[in-house]
């Protein structure tokens, strides 16, 4: 299973959610859908209708920036990152 690493500011919104979660899937989109199954509502925090990644949410697969269609393997490390934003 791919390893999904979530930002603290996100997991804090869903008490008890670990920062590192092993998730099944062959694309980033599938991983995030599986994540939402395990942590209901977390998908709304990361995705807009389409679905697409929210503008200031970035995903990296094995160090390379990705989108929802990007393939992942069972050994992939997937970072979900909050972009430099706010103020």
């Amino acid at each position: 299973m791919a390893q999904l690493l979530l930002p603290t500011i996100l997991t804090a919104l869903f008490p008890g959610t670990p920062r590192r979660i092993a998730v099944e899937g062959t694309t980033v989109g599938q991983l995030l859908a599986q994540l939402d199954q395990r942590v209901p509502g977390i998908g709304d925090r990361l995705l807009v209708s389409g679905p697409e990644l929210r503008e200031h949410i970035k995903v990296f697969v094995d160090g390379r920036q990705a989108d929802l269609a990007t393939p992942v393997s069972g050994t992939s490390v997937v970072h979900v990152v909050t972009a430099v934003s706010g103020g």
Partner: protein
């Protein structure tokens, strides 16, 4: 013993202040809803829930709910969407509980309803189906549904305020809506005032008279006594047409408070850098300036549309917050003021509830 719960929405989360009935000493808790801008925090007396209208640059819009006066919080935006092909909902600006439902006004302008305490939402699509919708134009703050007024006895009767579109009224639970802007100026348009396009800033209902509403507009203060069908200007001696925040008395329908500001081109400050709250005791026929206890020199204070609250005690307490982070309270209906917080993040909303310990 009653406890006064002051709810403050800021650019950096929500804060709750607990005060005794004398409203002289306060303790603050927070920030809650960390990472979210909070445009409105409100209390539902039906079940004690506290709701916060939220938006995050990362995580989008949400409505937070606390069932225990801020001890714990949940959040949801399930259903808070215009669907595939529609614009993304970016912010929640107002959350208003009424008659067992919860309403959320959002950006871009639309209205949503929840029947399960904010867990899931459904668009009240009749508002955006109004024939005027293709011509709606945003104000400086965006195209936002920022005000929701519920009739105290009729669950199907609501008013909303949209900038810069105006006031709408429904009497059939949101299936159909009518524009309610007759008599309201729109000086930024050439020619006579249009049916819609007025820049409503805030609406408040007069106590015990649901057909009487007060409106602070971009272009003056107004009053209606026929549910919004016609408005009469009551700007009178106020030092400016312009302002955002407004509050209505909990028992006296002729008493209301406003905070006039200089025009947008002049900075949207309290005039002469001397903050003041103006009060009418006669339904807007006359206004009196009250500033005892407020800074009166070099105070370029700006107060946003949701940033005034009025409690239900006797005499009524009045509260307002500034974009520069000061929070002021009056325990005597606006006669005298004290600063109760000096350095909060930019304040967007102030609301207050009297709860039992």
């Amino acid at each position: 013993m009653p406890r006064v719960l002051l709810m403050v929405g800021t650019k950096k989360g929500a804060f709750l202040l607990d005060g005794d009935a004398d409203r002289r000493s306060w303790s603050i808790r927070g920030p809650f809803c960390t990472g979210f801008e909070i445009r409105d925090v409100t209390y539902d007396p039906a079940d004690g829930s506290v709701y916060a209208a939220a938006a995050s640059p990362w995580f989008g819009p949400a409505v937070f709910r606390s069932p225990d006066l801020g001890e714990t919080w949940t959040h949801s935006s399930a259903g808070l969407t215009y669907g595939e092909g529609g614009p993304d909902v970016t912010r929640v600006w107002n959350v208003t509980p009424a008659h067992g439902a919860v309403y959320a006004g959002v950006e871009p302008a639309g209205l949503f309803r929840s029947d399960d305490k904010g867990a899931t939402w459904t668009e009240m699509a009749g508002l955006r189906a109004h024939p005027s919708r293709p011509e709606w134009q945003p104000g400086n703050g965006g195209l936002i549904c920022h005000t929701i007024i519920a009739h105290p006895a009729d669950p199907g009767h609501l008013w909303v305020g949209i900038s810069a579109v105006g006031v709408f009224e429904t009497t059939d639970g949101g299936v159909t809506w009518a524009t309610r802007n007759t008599g309201v100026r729109a000086d930024f348009y050439p020619g006579p005032a249009p049916e819609f396009g007025q820049c409503v800033h805030k609406v408040a209902m007069a106590a015990g008279k649901p057909a009487t509403l007060y409106q602070q507009n971009h272009c003056g203060m107004y009053r209606t006594d026929d549910s919004g069908a016609t408005w009469t200007e009551i700007t009178g001696s106020l030092p400016s047409d312009f302002g955002f925040a407004m509050g209505a008395h909990p028992r006296d329908p002729e008493t209301a408070w406003v905070i006039p500001l200089t025009t947008p081109t002049e900075g949207r400050f309290t005039p002469d850098a001397r903050p003041a709250v103006w009060r009418t005791r006669d339904g807007g026929a006359s206004w009196a300036r009250h500033a005892d206890g407020l800074p009166q020199a070099d105070a370029w204070v700006s107060v946003l549309r949701e940033a005034m609250g009025v409690d239900s005690l006797e005499p009524a307490g009045v509260y307002f917050g500034a974009q520069s982070g000061q929070l002021f309270a009056s325990a005597d209906e606006g006669e005298t003021w004290m600063e109760i917080e000096a350095s909060l993040p930019a304040i967007a909303s102030v609301d207050v509830a009297v709860v039992e310990r």
